[in-house]
Subunit: 311 residues, 2 copies
C-alpha cells in the first residue's frame, strides 16, 4: 500500500491506495492556516493514524504549486506558506518513509492516465477546471515536467492580450475565461448590470449578486436555468479554443477535463468540442483529439500522488 495526501487550501485528505488505484481508506483534517510547520504536523498525524491500520511503504504529497524536478522541494505554493521548502526532507524525518512531493494537477493527470479516463493513451493532456486551470501533459508513461519542473501551466497562456487581470499578475490568461472563477465572474457581472436575463441567477442567491459563484451557476445550469446554461456554454467556447491551441502545439490524442466545473458535463463539453473543431488549425486534414470528462473525481490527485511515490 502507498499513501496519498492532498493538501488543499481548506482541507488535508490522506488516503491509502492499492496497486490498482483503489482507495482503501481516506481521512481528512482542516488545513491549519498557512503555517508550514503546522501543516507538516497534520500530515504526520494522518500518516500515523493510517499507518497503524495499513502497511504503508511510501507517501506522495500533492499540492497546488511548483515543485522541483526531484520531487523534494516546494518552490512556491499559492495558498500555503511553502516557499522553497524542503518538504520531502522535513517529512521523511517525521514519517520514517520515502516521500515524494508533487504538483496536484500532475498527480491527478497521472491517476487518470493510469487508472481513469486516459487508460490506453500514450499522450494526453488533463485540465482541472476549478478556481483556475490546472494542467498536465502525460507522454509515454510519464508526466512531462519541463526543464525546471514548471510545465503544464496551460491556464496561464495569454489568449487575450489586455484582457481580464489574472492572479498571476498578467492579463488575458486562459483561466480567466475557462474556469469556475470565470463562470462566477460572468454571472456576477450580468447580475450587477441589472440585466433581466440575470433574474434566475439572482433568485438563487436571494438577490445578493456577490454570492453568485461558479458552482452556483453550474448548479443552476444543471437544473435547466437558461442564462446559467448560456454562461456555461460560453466558458465551454473558451475551453474549446484553448484546447485547439494545445492541440496545435502538442497534438495529444486525448484531453481529459476534470475539476469542480466538469460537473457541468456536456453542457460545457459539447460547446467546447464545437469550439475545438472550429478553431483547430488544419481541421479537415488531421485526426482530432477526443475531449472527455475525468473518471476519478476529486480523489484523483490523492491517488496519483500515492502512485507516483511508488516509483
Amino acid at each position: 500500500m502507498v499513501l496519498g495526501i492532498d493538501v488543499g487550501g481548506t482541507k488535508v485528505a490522506a488516503g491509502v491506495v492499492d496497486g490498482n488505484g483503489a482507495i482503501l481508506e481516506v481521512i481528512r483534517r482542516a488545513t491549519p492556516g498557512r503555517d508550514a510547520r503546522a501543516v507538516e504536523g497534520v500530515i504526520a498525524e494522518l500518516v500515523q493514524e493510517l499507518g497503524a491500520r495499513h502497511e504503508i511503504s511510501s507517501v506522495g504529497i500533492g499540492a497546488a504549486g511548483w515543485m522541483d524536478l526531484a520531487g523534494a522541494r516546494v518552490v512556491f505554493s499559492p495558498h500555503l506558506a511553502w516557499r522553497d521548502e524542503p518538504l520531502r526532507e522535513n517529512l521523511e524525518k517525521l514519517l520514517h518513509r520515502p516521500v515524494l512531493v508533487t504538483n496536484d494537477a500532475d498527480a491527478a493527470a497521472w491517476a487518470e492516465a493510469r487508472f481513469g479516463a486516459g487508460r490506453g493513451y500514450s499522450r494526453l493532456i488533463m485540465l482541472t477546471l476549478g478556481t483556475g486551470i490546472g494542467g498536465a501533459l502525460v507522454i509515454d508513461g510519464g508526466v512531462e515536467r519541463g526543464s525546471f519542473g514548471m510545465a503544464g501551466e496551460f491556464g496561464h497562456q495569454i489568449i487575450m492580450p489586455g484582457g481580464h487581470r489574472c492572479e498571476c499578475g498578467n492579463r488575458g490568461c486562459w483561466e480567466q475565461y475557462a474556469s469556475g472563477n470565470a463562470l462566477g465572474r460572468e454571472g456576477r457581472e450580468l447580475a450587477k448590470k441589472h440585466s433581466p436575463m440575470a433574474a434566475g441567477l439572482l433568485a438563487a442567491v436571494n438577490g445578493k449578486h456577490k454570492d453568485i459563484t461558479g458552482s452556483v451557476v453550474t448548479e443552476l445550469a444543471l437544473q435547466g436555468e437558461a442564462t446559467a446554461r448560456e454562461l456555461v456554454a460560453e466558458v465551454g467556447d473558451w475551453l474549446g479554443l484553448g484546447i485547439a491551441n494545445l492541440a496545435a502545439a502538442l497534438d495529444p490524442a486525448l484531453f481529459i477535463v476534470g475539476g469542480g466545473l466538469s460537473a457541468a458535463g456536456e453542457l460545457m463539453l459539447e460547446p467546447a468540442r464545437r469550439a475545438f473543431s472550429r478553431n483547430l488549425t488544419g481541421r479537415g486534414y488531421r485526426q482530432e483529439a477526443v475531449i472527455t470528462v475525468a473518471q476519478l473525481g476529486p480523489m484523483a490527485g490523492l491517488i496519483g500522488a500515492a502512485d507516483l511515490s511508488r516509483r
Copy 2:
C-alpha cells in the same frame, strides 16, 4: 554519409552531411511547380548526381507540411501537391536507399539541438520565423511529434481571438503577429495610411507600398531606419509574448529563433526577451529560459533531415 533534401516552394536543395552535421557538398534545382511526380523526379536527379560522388547510406527529406509518425507519408503540404502521399515508398523505389520523410521545422530543430545552438540542452523549442512560424519541441534527444504527428504548430496558437486572418483559416494565430509576413503587413499598412513615419520605408521601394515585405523592413532596420526598427521591435514584443505562453505550457530551458526574420538579431530578440520576462507567469519565482538565435542558418533543415534519416 547521409543525404538531406530540403523541398521548398521555390527550390529543392540536396546536401551530403557527415556524422558531425557538416555539409560536404550541396546542389540545388528549381522546384518544378506543384506536381508531385515532377518533384520526386528532381529529388531522384539530385540523389543520383550526389550519389555518384559520395557513399550515401540514407536520405532524409524535409518539407513544410504534416508528415505521418512513421516518417513515410506526407499528410498535407501547403505549397506542394502532396496530399496523403506515400513519399517514402515512392522515393525508395527511385533511390534504392532508405528514405525518411520529415517536417522541415522538426528537422531544423533537430539539427540545432544536435549540432547548433541547442547542444547540451535536454529540452528546447525551436521557432523558425519566415512566412509563418515553424516550430518544434525537442525533449530528451527526440523531436516530440504528438499522437498524430502534428505537434509543434505553435504559430497557429490563437493569441488574439478575432484578430488577423491566418492562411490556416483561423483568426488571431500567433504567426500573424510574429513572422516575416506580419512584419511586411505592418509596414504596408503604415505606408498605405500615408503616415509620415513611413517615408523611409516608401523610399526603399520607390513609393510602391506593395513591395514592402518582411525582408525589406528587416534590411532597413539593420541599416538603422527608425520606423523599421519600431516595427521589428513590435514583432519582437509579440514573439516574446508567445514564447512566454510556450514557457508556461512546456517550460523548456532554451528557445532558439531561426528563419529569415532572425537576421534582425538583437533588434528583434532584445524586445522579445523583455516581453517574455514581462509576460512569463510566475516570474520572480522560477528559472527563466534563454532565448537565442539559431547557429546553422538556412541549411539547418537539410542537415537535420539527413541526420534523422540515419536513425
